[in-house]
């Protein structure tokens, strides 16, 4: 840790967030990045503890994520899953063999009494990930979904029912008593902290569960360093996933502008795509960039934009 180190905290959900986290890991020294990850999607399935967003971030940073899907492992095999289906087991949640190995090991380590932070750090080391990947909290925090088909556990809604039920409301079980994971708390209070980046993740399904941890929202509001977000909405649609559909169901116009409103109590700027450049003409909080990340170069370029924006805002703040 050098004297001139600048520390960045990235808040990430799954696929979209992981891409920017990978970009940040490319352009920052390993000890300068803490990726705090949503755990609202976590669930117990087949006796395994599955943490979809943590896994997507780990696999992406390790360079072993399935390139087309954006989640799961590349070069994956499905021996367990195929047999499980033959034996009449649950088959609505696709699980690859390598993925299962990680879930088995995580379950075992958790049962030995390690925190989710400890387990995630151990898995990251084994996968060759240098940046700190940390769950937003070590306590159980589970997203529940109120829909026109009733109250559903998140993965029931998201994977089993493919987000088809109409969403009425979200509830984050356990958030009331959850506290930040020690490494997240330490990073947000660290004198080297240069800024916080909300990665382009679904604001309702991925970011809201994290912000439901009161300690996080309070910390973000109290920060003197810049907090920026990258909009996951481009030209009224989400790059990936059901963000736009959910926003319509919640009666919200799916535009990049909404991102600034959702985070208005703590956000300093929102990076929006060139496709939404018109927004920036009327609202100084919006900064235009190429936010679509398909290549590693595009991820690194957007990461540099984020860091540059934090630097500019930091000069303004101090």
């Amino acid at each position: 840790m050098s004297a001139s180190r600048k520390l960045y905290v990235a808040l990430s959900g799954g696929v979209g967030g992981a891409k920017l986290a990978q970009g940040l890991a490319q352009v920052l020294p390993a000890d300068s990045l803490v990726v705090a990850v949503n755990v609202g999607d976590d669930f117990d399935h087949l006796g395994l503890t599955i943490c979809p967003d943590i896994d997507t971030v780990l696999y992406t940073l390790a360079g072993v994520v399935h390139p087309q899907q954006g989640w799961g492992r590349t070069d994956e095999t499905f021996g367990v899953f195929e047999e499980l289906r033959r034996l009449g087991g649950d088959s609505w949640f696709l699980l690859g063999d390598r993925d299962i190995a990680l879930h088995l090991l995580r379950r075992q380590l958790l049962q030995q009494g390690l925190t989710l932070s400890d387990v995630t750090a151990q898995l990251a080391r084994k996968l060759g990930v240098d940046a700190a990947v940390v769950p937003i909290t070590d306590q159980a925090l589970r997203t529940m979904v109120e829909t026109d088909q009733g109250r559903l556990a998140f993965q029931d809604y998201f994977v089993r029912l493919r987000c088809e039920p109409k969403l009425h409301a979200l509830e984050f079980q356990g958030a009331g008593s959850a506290t930040l994971a020690p490494a997240v708390r330490a990073a947000l209070a660290h004198p080297d902290l240069a800024g916080v980046i909300l990665c382009p993740s679904n604001p309702y399904l991925s970011v809201s569960p994290m912000l439901a941890v009161t300690e996080l929202r309070e910390r973000l509001c109290a920060l003197t360093v810049p907090v920026i977000a990258v909009s996951p909405i481009v030209a009224g649609e989400a790059i990936k996933g059901p963000t736009a559909k959910i926003m319509r169901e919640l009666g919200v116009q799916p535009t990049a502008g909404v991102i600034a409103e959702l985070y208005e109590d703590f956000i300093d700027a929102v990076l929006i795509d060139t496709a939404d450049a018109s927004l920036a003409t009327t609202d100084k909080r919006f900064v235009v960039a190429h936010t679509v990340m398909k290549t590693l170069e595009q991820k690194a370029a957007l990461a540099r934009e984020c860091i540059a924006l934090i630097e500019r805002l930091g000069l303004r703040v101090t």
Copy 2:
């Protein structure tokens, strides 16, 4: 179930027992065979519930057992295991992907409150096994091993340390309070019961844990129908596994003759191999047969020998 049905109960451990069980399943109608299986080897590993003997019996009867090993699945893949090793997880117990699928499903069904009998029946059905395969007990019964390297859980001794520690004594945790699984109890009390066959399994590691269930030993002693055993010892050596080594460590001469002594309170006859034919000249309890089973034909032939022997003994008893 026909009026003239004859019911046979086979007591089996792993590989050797499973071979004879397969022979019996070949030559008997499906509703005439109950295979009661040792659970002393069962253990929890990586959050999975693994029942090595039940699995070997199921895989063997389903015709999907690895033909050379005699345990595990044929056409198995090891995606999970290889990744687990890369991640630094426990790798002393080899687990194939198909095998893991079964363990995951079993753990899930047990957690839903099903008994091990129910779960085993469901897995058997899915694997296409017609004969009833039943754990000897639904209660936890765990073999512990006192050795020159201390007290060890069975799989620590058997797999991790490859039976290398010198064995002093065996303890069957939970046996004192364990009762027979309902289907085993019902079969042993059934008016159609024609006889009981102790398959050629390790008398100490596989049969003793079953006999440690007091209810079983008492039932066997009280039976009026014949109880026979097939010796797992041929010419002073075990066909497979550490039986002979263990007998020597326990100060017992590893001969087929010992089998009759171990079971003397309930046994009517012991099938011994042609290699040990001399035993039969002095002790009428020994009956000579070809006990080495390499082919399905040999398994079926030995099964027929068992049934014929029970029939002859049955005539003598009544």
